[in-house]
Symmetry: C2
Subunit: 265 residues, 2 copies
């Protein structure tokens, strides 16, 4: 097991939690007198004993207007650093490009502990990530959105495309650092996919605001040693919408999800 | 035809060129006394009457160390602005995420005129880009790298997956602003793909350093009104490797590619 998954296993066991907290700051949903930096910091502090991992999505930082003495990219780097004091950090970047460019994107792993990647361009496009054996690489497989059926469900050789992606991911896992992203919004698909994907740990988004199946997420999302993550973002960080005490609301929501998921572990 | 493709058509006709100049700065390949900002600016000025479009790849900016009084993201924004004075700018970002996050990535189109996107997550993941009718959206279809066969060539219903992606892209083109990314390194596949992809304009990378087929790139890559782009990056911007006059070398390389491609238009 690679360094990333070893650390994650320890974190899951110590905190007795498979909760991953998404950090997607939307300025309009943050109290006026709180900066994005402070918001993230307070959320991280409030959830630090429940979060087995943090997952900032790069989209929410790239688009931040240049405020607060820097731009969104600076805020992302600071958030990753801050979160990293408390749990492993997965940068949800969904990157993938040809070798030359992917090598540059892989430098994001100098900062974060793991990253999400898009498999469409194939193995060599992911090699710069895969070869960083200490880091985790979560390959998009079956995503939560309804449009995921457009391409991912296309039938190839009698099975949906995403099954082929899972098989490729198993094949690409020569460093023991590969996981899959599988949405909790497709519980019927998860059981079969667990067969195809061997013992790869999954990162399962889609519970909470997106209404995914928590039982299936835990049952199929964790590997034989109990490693896997169930992510909630809006259901945690915006649970105190409009309230000044958004951080204690986030803590409560995270604790509630932890208990709820632990029933199935 | 959407605003982006109208402007591109005009640019192609005025400059008599389908050359797209990639702007992927690698600090180690830039003379010591030249900043990335200056490098890009000099390349842009030197190629401005030949470049029908510019294509900076976001990977090369996200990873730039914080130097020159800002970080790579600032340099990207400045480069897009500078290039935009001379030709339409396609941000090669290969993004795609669920609606919520994709909406944030789509804000990149506040800056650039067009963007490249990854189709794996399906139509709703691209909708925030597609619905910006004035902007161009180039969907990855068949990429230049050898690993593109891993997923893109999987046989679905008797045809490679990338043909299905091309058909979806045609279906998604309700605003007339969709194009495809098709690598010039697969000349045998391009003829058939032109049939499947209707009259969508293509952005064709892979000539130059990657050795793609220029004739096939022009013949199949342009639509019935002559709109389409053939990109070269390293073959242009690093043609003067080690020379102080990298800009005039880039100009020569771009002019040479222009002539070479114009034989087939």
């Amino acid at each position: 097991m690679t360094e990333f998954f070893s650390r994650l296993k320890e974190e899951i066991e110590t905190k007795d939690s498979v909760v991953c907290v998404g950090l997607d700051p939307v300025p309009s949903r943050i109290p006026d007198d709180v900066s994005v930096r402070e918001f993230n910091q307070l959320i991280i502090e409030a959830t630090s004993d429940v979060a087995a991992a943090y997952k900032p999505n790069a989209a929410f930082y790239e688009s931040l207007d240049p405020v607060e003495g820097g731009n969104g990219w600076d805020v992302l780097l600071e958030t990753v650093e801050e979160a990293g004091f408390h749990a492993p950090v997965i940068l949800d970047a969904k990157r993938g490009d040809i070798g030359n460019s992917s090598r540059r994107y892989a430098e994001l792993l100098d900062v974060a502990d793991a990253i999400t990647v898009n498999p469409y361009m194939g193995r060599d496009s992911l090699e710069p990530f895969l070869e960083r054996g200490d880091s985790g690489v979560f390959v998009l497989c079956k995503t939560t959105n309804s449009g995921s059926s457009d391409i991912q469900d296309l039938e190839c050789d009698g099975r949906p495309l995403y099954h082929h992606v899972a098989e490729k991911a198993v094949e690409w896992n020569t460093h023991g650092n590969v996981g899959l992203v599988v949405g909790a919004t497709h519980p019927e698909a998860m059981e079969e996919l667990r067969e195809t994907s061997g013992d790869l740990p999954w990162l399962v988004p889609g519970v909470g605001a997106q209404g995914g199946d928590e039982e299936a997420a835990v049952e199929h999302g964790t590997d034989s040693s109990g490693v896997g993550l169930v992510n909630s973002t809006r259901g945690i960080i915006y649970s105190g919408d409009g309230e000044a005490r958004f951080d204690s609301a986030a803590r409560e929501a995270a604790k509630k999800l932890q208990s709820s998921l632990n029933r199935y572990r």
